[in-house]
């Protein structure tokens, strides 16, 4: 049964929203990470594993049956299209960075490698959506700030960490085991990317500590909204 071809545009939160400011400002981002990470991680992990606490922040199960990805399609197709949109963003970002000429040598090779992997993710997710009878999300028009190598690496780090958190945030919403396996195969690679970029900017490879934190779709979409050109 083919999915409806209709797809609503994501709602556009204000460009000066708190999340957008956090994403743009490296100092705020570090503070943001510090606020949400730390010693609460273990307690939250345990809460996620079977206690009946309803207040855990690490639970990735959708509440009220919504995943926050419904604007991209129903069920797993919506989640895949959401992931596809993020992968399009990452691919476009790395393409712009390579074109900018800001990087050379080993760092440029890393950026090229990561960019090509994101492009592979785009291809795989597109194929997965089609295989499920859905319409793949379109490539968004994007614009990224590329003022210096330092600011670009910080933005890359933000985007990769966010991407990893986005996949983690949807894992429990995915119905098909095959789709879940694919999502996990990508999720861990985004974790690798984030680790490397964090190292390049002198940050911890594990900003959330021993347990990575999920991000919900609304948070992720708000964070990347500044880079989508309407």
């Amino acid at each position: 049964m083919p999915e409806s071809k209709e797809r609503e545009r994501p709602t556009v939160p204000p460009a000066d929203s708190a999340i957008a400011r956090v994403v743009k400002d490296p100092v705020s981002r570090r503070k943001f990470m510090a606020l949400t990470g730390g010693s609460a991680a273990l307690a939250a992990f345990l809460a996620a594993c079977g206690s009946d606490s309803g207040t855990t922040t690490t639970s990735t199960a959708s509440s009220g049956g919504t995943t926050g990805t419904e604007q991209f399609g129903k069920g797993d197709i919506g989640i895949l299209n959401y992931a596809l949109t993020l992968e399009y963003l990452e691919t476009a970002f790395y393409k712009d960075v390579i074109k900018s000429g800001l990087f050379k040598g080993a760092e440029l090779e890393t950026i090229k490698k990561f960019g090509s992997e994101e492009a592979e993710h785009v291809a795989a997710l597109t194929a997965a959506v089609k295989q499920m009878g859905g319409t793949p999300a379109p490539m968004p028009k994007t614009k990224f700030p590329l003022s210096s190598a330092k600011s670009v690496l910080e933005l890359a780090s933000t985007v990769e960490n966010l991407g990893a958190a986005a996949y983690l945030g949807q894992a429990a919403n995915i119905k098909s085991p095959a789709v879940l396996a694919s999502a996990l195969a990508i999720h861990s690679v985004e974790g690798r990317h984030a680790s490397v970029l964090n190292t390049l900017i002198g940050e911890s490879i594990t900003p959330d500590g021993a347990f990575a934190k999920p991000a919900d779709a609304a948070t992720v979409l708000k964070s990347v909204e500044p880079f989508i050109v309407s």
Binding site: F45, S51, T60, A172, G191, S195, I205
Partner: protein, 211 residues
């Protein structure tokens, strides 16, 4: 099948039973390591799932296998703090890894108990390496294997909360893997899709290790 081992270092890792009887998870781990040595880490997975499906099964079984792997990594990094002869950045990294894996051990132990299961006992391990290069080689293999093991087992997890927890750990293992690979002057993210444990060679490799 050639006689050359893809990952000979894995074949040297000894999983020593604590009190005579090998726990199910220790058997699985020995099998997984042996298969990893022969077939390469991408092949390790399948075993795990088929073997787990045979008896323990369920989320507790998966968590117990994960716990066994985390015991391995935790012990490995604790020892490495002196044995690996590391300094500077690598020394700091080992400290971070030791702390993370220890937290994984504690969290998995607690969650197994919370689910009404019995956490596997801590096995004794023997890691054969004598210098930093040897440490890095084993570390890379363990971290990559951990990612593949979690990714392979996760689709079988029944509880959404346990799945979330596994996902939260596997991402950290992937972060570890990349960092170790950088120290080892290897590609931190060699594949666009991390291999997961697939089912086919499980029984073949684990048979010799089941009493």
């Amino acid at each position: 099948m050639s006689n050359e081992l893809v990952h000979p270092e894995l074949a040297d890792v000894h999983v020593v039973e604590d009190s005579g009887d090998l726990s199910r998870s220790e058997v699985i781990l020995k099998g997984a390591l042996a298969a990893g040595a022969v077939y390469g880490v991408g092949m390790v997975g399948p075993f795990v799932r088929n073997a787990l499906a045979m008896s323990d099964g369920g989320d507790v079984g998966i968590l117990n296998f994960a716990l066994t792997l985390e015991y391995l990594e935790s012990t490995f990094y604790k020892e490495a703090q002196t044995r690996a002869k590391a300094s500077g950045e690598l020394k700091s990294l080992i400290g971070l890894l030791a702390s993370d894996e220890q937290q994984h051990v504690e969290a998995l132990t607690a969650s197994i108990k919370q689910l009404g299961g019995k956490p596997v006992a801590e096995p004794k391990f023997d890691f054969p390496y004598s210098d930093t290069a040897g440490f890095l080689k084993l570390a890379q293999t363990f971290e990559d294997t951990g990612v593949s093991a979690y990714n392979g087992a996760a689709p079988s997890i029944k509880s959404k909360e346990v799945l979330g927890a596994a996902g939260s750990i596997v991402q950290v293992e992937a972060r570890h893997a990349a960092a170790i690979r950088l120290q080892n002057k290897q590609e931190p993210a060699p594949d666009a899709f991390d291999p997961s444990l697939d089912e086919s060679q499980v029984l073949t490799a684990v048979k010799p290790f089941i009493q």
